[in-house]
Amino acid sequence: MAFQQVGPSGDLGEGEVQAYDVGGEEIAVARVGGTLYAFSDICTHRRCNLANGGEIDGTSIECECHGSVFSMETGAVLHAPATEPIATYPVRESQGQIEVDA
C-alpha cells in the first residue's frame, strides 16, 4: 500500500468532510482543528454515506441516517445503533494535495 492523491488540499476547508474514491474504496476525509482524518465513508449500521450530511463534533462524526457516532481518529463506535467500527486510514498533505494510504 502507498499514499495516493485524492484531491487538492484547497477543496477541503476547516470543519468539512468529503468523500473520495480511493481505488474503488469510498473513503471520507475530514479536516478538524487543522488535522486531517481519513476513514471509511460507509456507516457500518445501514451503509449510509457518512460524508453526506454527517455531523462533525470534535473528532467524532455522527451518521445523518440513524445517529450512529464514530471516532474519526480510531474508527470506534461512540454511539449505537452501529456496533462495528469503521476503518481508518493514514492521511497526509503533500504539495497541495491530500493523500490517503488505503
Binding site: 450530511g53 455531523e55 445523518e64 441516517c65 445517529g67 449505537a80 445503533p81 456496533t83
Partner: protein, 407 residues
C-alpha cells in the same frame, strides 16, 4: 464469599440489549439476565417495514448483537421465555414455566404490542399486522402473489408498508381514520406533503374513513369501509398503533398502560427501572410522555443502565426518529406544541423543508423535516437546551442553527 449481584432485564429488546451492553461497558461484574419472548436473537424492527419486507436484506442483518457477543459479554440471554410476574417486594421475576430469577435490580423493557383492530372479519386469512420477522415474512409471501393490498392506518408503519408494497409493484389502498398521512405525529402540513408523495407513487388514500367489515371466505376478499364501496383486497396490513406491555408491573400504570418512571427512569420502587416504549417518562422538558421510537429505546437503555450503576442521570433526550419512504426521509425531534408557532425553512411545496416548532413562549420544542435531515439533527441539542431562537434566522437556510447553542 461475596455473592454476585443479579440485574434482570425483562425484554430482549433494543432498549434491553443496549442496557446490557452499557452495564458491561461500565464494568458491572454481576449477573446480567436478559429475558426475551422471541426465539430469534434480538433484532431491530425498523427494517421490517422496509428493507426486510422488500427482501433486500436477510433477517440476520437486523440482529442487534450476534450470538457470540452474548457469550463474550457474559449476558445470560434466555430466549422464548415469557416473564409473567414481577414481585417488587420479593424482587423476583417469574416465568410462565414457573422458573423464577431473584434480582437486586431490574429493568423493564418489554416494549409494546400492536393495537388490535376491532372489526368483524379481522380474523379472516390474509389480514396481517406487522411486529415480528414472522409477520414480515407472511406479508412478503402474500405480496409475492400480487395485490391488491389494503393498509388500514397511515401512521408510520402503514405509510412505510404502503411505500414498500408500491416498490414491490403491489396495488395499494390505504384506509386512514384521520385527515391526512401520519397526521397525529407530523400534523397537517407535513402530513399532506407525505400524502402527495404517496399519491405520486400510486397509493390510493381514503382519509377520514374507517373499516366496517372485512368480507371474504377463508381469506379476506374485500374491505368495507364506512364511506366507500367495498375495496378489493388480496391481503390487508393493519397498523393502527401500539399498546405498551406494562402488565408485568404490579403497581399502578398510567392511563395509557405505561409504567410510570421518574426523570431518571426509576419506578416508584428503588432499583426497578423502565425504558423504551413501555416507560411513561416524567421528561424534564416535555412533562410525562411515552415514546415509541427506535433511538429513544437505545438512549433510554443507556441511561437506565448507567443509573442502575448509580450515575443518577436525568434523561433529557429530546427524542429523535426517522422514517424512510421511497427516496425521501422524514426526520423529527421533540414535540409540536399545540399552541405554538411553526417556522419553515425550505418549502412544503418543494417537499423539502425543516419546520421548527416553537411554544407560546418562543422556546424551540421540536423540528420536523422531509428531505432536509441536517437541521433536525442540529436541532437536537437546541431542543435539549430549550433555546429561544430568532424566527427570521430559523427560516433562513443560510444560517447555521448551531449558532443558537448555549455555551
Amino acid at each position: 464469599m461475596i455473592r454476585r449481584q443479579t440485574f434482570v432485564i425483562v425484554g430482549a429488546s433494543l432498549a434491553g440489549v443496549t442496557a446490557a451492553a452499557i452495564l458491561r461497558e461500565e464494568g458491572f461484574e454481576g449477573r446480567v439476565v436478559l429475558l426475551g419472548e422471541e426465539e430469534l436473537l434480538p433484532y431491530e424492527r425498523p427494517g421490517l417495514s422496509k428493507v426486510y419486507l422488500r427482501g433486500e436484506e436477510p433477517a440476520e442483518s437486523l440482529t442487534v448483537r450476534d450470538a457470540d457477543w452474548f457469550d463474550d459479554q457474559d449476558v445470560e440471554l434466555m430466549r422464548g421465555v415469557v416473564a409473567e410476574r414481577l414481585d417488587a417486594t420479593a424482587r423476583t421475576v417469574t416465568m410462565a414455566d414457573g422458573e423464577s430469577v431473584e434480582f437486586e435490580q431490574a429493568l423493564i423493557a418489554t416494549g409494546s404490542r400492536n393495537r388490535p383492530l376491532e372489526a368483524p372479519g379481522v380474523d379472516l386469512g390474509n389480514v396481517f399486522d406487522l411486529r415480528t420477522v414472522a409477520d414480515a415474512d407472511r406479508i412478503r409471501a402474500a405480496a409475492a402473489h400480487g395485490g391488491p393490498a389494503v393498509c388500514v392506518g397511515m401512521g408510520f408503519i402503514g405509510a412505510e408498508v404502503a411505500a414498500s408494497l408500491r416498490q414491490m409493484d403491489v396495488d395499494v389502498t390505504v384506509v386512514e381514520i384521520f385527515e391526512t398521512a401520519i397526521w397525529k405525529v407530523l400534523g397537517r402540513d407535513a402530513g399532506d406533503v407525505m400524502a402527495r408523495i404517496h399519491a405520486d407513487h400510486g397509493v390510493k388514500m381514503r382519509f377520514n374513513d374507517t373499516v366496517d367489515t372485512f368480507v371474504g371466505g377463508a381469506a379476506v376478499e374485500r374491505v368495507r369501509t364506512s364511506l366507500a364501496d367495498d375495496i378489493p383486497a388480496a391481503f390487508v396490513v393493519v397498523g393502527i398503533g401500539v399498546v405498551p406491555n406494562g402488565e408485568i408491573w404490579p403497581l399502578s400504570l398510567t392511563e395509557d398502560g405505561g409504567i410510570p418512571v421518574d426523570p431518571t427512569l426509576q419506578t416508584e420502587v428503588p432499583g426497578i427501572w423502565a425504558a423504551g416504549d413501555v416507560a411513561s417518562h416524567d421528561h424534564p422538558a416535555f412533562g410525562r410522555l411515552r415514546v415509541e421510537h427506535f433511538d429513544n429505546a437505545i438512549k433510554m437503555g443507556e441511561t437506565a443502565a448507567r443509573n442502575m450503576l448509580g450515575a443518577g442521570l436525568v434523561h433529557d433526550d429530546p427524542h429523535w426518529f426517522w422514517s424512510d419512504q421511497y427516496d425521501v426521509q422524514v426526520q423529527m425531534v421533540g414535540v409540536r406544541p399545540p399552541d405554538g408557532t411553526v417556522v419553515v425553512r425550505g418549502s412544503y411545496e418543494d417537499r423539502s423543508f425543516c419546520a421548527f416548532s416553537l411554544d407560546a413562549a418562543g422556546v424551540l420544542r421540536g423540528a420536523t423535516s422531509i428531505a432536509w435531515p441536517r437541521d433536525v439533527r442540529r436541532a437536537i441539542a437546541l431542543v435539549r437546551q430549550q433555546v429561544r431562537p430568532d424566527p427570521a434566522k430559523l427560516a433562513d437556510p443560510g444560517f447555521d442553527i448551531r449558532q443558537f447553542a448555549e455555551g
